[in-house]
């Protein structure tokens, strides 16, 4: 890099730190829990962004690019610690969801109804742990869309634009993600 380029890159990446650091950290902490690992990975993300700035070229929104880098780092971190995210293939996920219903497109009560209507599930640590592990099973796109909507509180139109899907597609994906989560959680309770 030429000197004046370096200065420009440093200024740009610094401005990204100001604008996106807290969001990235919130995400990393959500995935990794409180503690230094999340902080370190976020720091590494910005340094990696500086080092590979040539590959950015303004093709995507900086935030999107930074999240890609961070998510790769989180996956590496999981891999090293023996934990792997195991997103399901889209086909398998669709198959599972469709098979929840019978040929008339209905389903029967399955004995978990009172579980879902019981109070205080949100305060139950076992439930939360199961939930996080079920989130990891979701197909990548479903997980990203559902996180964008609820975790990042992004507007529906923005999400549809980013993933190039129609509004109907969008809530269908959210529906399928939630159905799969329901099935996964019920399986974990059973076992």
């Amino acid at each position: 890099m030429e000197l004046h380029d370096t200065i420009y890159v440093k200024e740009t990446v610094s401005s990204w730190v100001k604008n996106h650091h807290s969001e990235l950290l919130k995400w990393a902490k959500y995935k990794l829990g409180q503690g230094h690992a999340a902080e370190d990975l976020v720091q590494d993300t910005f340094i990696a962004a500086f080092n590979s700035f040539d590959r950015f070229e303004g093709r995507s929104h900086p935030q999107t690019w930074l999240f890609q880098i961070l998510n790769n780092k989180i996956m590496d971190h999981f891999r090293k610690s023996g934990r792997t995210e195991k997103p399901m293939a889209l086909e398998d996920a669709n198959f599972l969801v469709e098979n929840l219903f019978d040929k008339n497109q209905n389903w029967d009560i399955n004995g978990f109804e009172s579980y879902w209507t019981s109070e205080n599930l949100l305060d139950n640590p076992d439930f939360r742990e199961n939930f996080n592990s079920c989130m990891m099973d979701l197909p990548l796109e479903w997980k990203n869309i559902i996180s964008d909507k609820y975790f990042f509180d992004k507007k529906s139109e923005i999400i549809c634009q980013e993933y190039q899907i129609t509004a109907t597609n969008y809530w269908q994906i959210i529906r399928r993600a939630k159905l799969l989560l329901k099935k996964c959680l019920e399986n974990l309770i059973k076992s």
Partner: protein, 86 residues
């Protein structure tokens, strides 16, 4: 569900679709009525509605966890110094 219900009512697939549509785009008057009808008779879909709202709430809650602004500022400052020295 028995046949007469199928004719009068939404299928469970359709009902779960409307439960989600309700939370994203909203429902028309008729859709809303159909869904309420269905939920009053179908425990399986009612439990899906509970689960659906719970998942939304849980993720929203995780997303709104406040970070300590002072610590956040300190972390940012350290990082900006590091970038300067690269």
């Amino acid at each position: 569900m028995s046949d007469w219900k199928n004719k009068l009512m939404l299928s469970c697939v359709r009902a779960t679709e409307l439960i989600e549509k309700k939370q994203t785009l909203g429902l028309s008057y008729i859709e809303n009525f159909q869904l309420r009808m269905h939920l009053s008779m179908c425990k399986a879909c009612l439990s899906y509605e509970y689960e659906s709202l719970l998942v939304s709430k849980l993720l929203q809650q995780e997303g709104s966890v406040e970070t300590d602004p002072e610590k956040e500022a300190a972390l940012q400052k350290v990082l900006e110094e590091k970038i300067k020295d690269l």
